[in-house]
Symmetry: C2
Subunit: 110 residues, 2 copies
DNA sequence: TCCCGATGTGCTTCCTTATTCATAACGAAA
DNA sequence: TTTCGTTATGAATAAGGAAGCACATCGGGA
């Protein structure tokens, strides 16, 4: 008997550290775009989020973990910029792996 | 190589109908308690939620689906009561099945 | 030395969600 | 016909998250 689900099953996943939220889908997109754009403000614009929000998101992660996720610099001709630390990249990977897992399960079950 | 996840993976799932939220974890508990207590107000108290909220939750589901989820009655010595319709029970089951699936994936992956 | 564009941060809405308060409607049993 | 505990519903309030605004800070290059 095939699984005839009447309604759409939606889900949201995220990583936690000591019970505190670390990174979800939005956060993963943020980290990805920062790495791609090498800039927090450009990443925010690309994602349609406010700079304020993106910046706060990163700060929250870093405060929760006590480790740096993004390396920023100010001044210079370009005004400044940002890029992920090695640890930030690993965190992103960890989330993507989990997301992949659930997506795979869901498509098998539809 | 075993999967050494550094952080706790959490999730939230819910069913949708035409893009609108139908029932999540809270809603499942609500339906369960209504069936167990045969009363909306008792269910709300048991769950630590306000009657107003529980009642609205059910109404939202019914409005979204255009079908009745709970059958209520007023008056009488007991004041009245409520119980799930057959459809309400099926909806609850559908959610539980999905929740089970997700939990299974998590335990297999830990 | 001044300019520019990005980072850094506080404060003020705005929106969604949930609680609280208040009150009406109901109807079987006493 | 009075009582009692529940359903039904509006309105005000509170809490949280996110956007928007304003402005200070930084530092390489012209």
């Amino acid at each position: 008997m095939r699984n005839e689900s009447k309604h759409k099953l939606s889900f949201k996943i995220w990583l936690e550290h000591n019970g505190k939220p670390l990174i979800g889908k939005g956060g993963a997109q943020i980290l990805e775009q920062i790495e791609k754009e090498q800039s927090i403000s450009k990443a925010a614009k690309k994602l349609g989020m406010s700079y304020r929000y993106v910046w706060s998101y990163i700060k929250r992660i870093e405060k929760t973990l006590g480790r740096s996720v993004a390396e920023t610099r100010r001044g210079g001709k370009a005004g400044g910029g940002a890029k992920l630390t090695r640890f930030g990249k690993e965190l992103l990977k960890e989330y993507k792996r989990a997301e992949n897992l659930f997506n795979k399960v869901l498509t098998c079950n539809r």
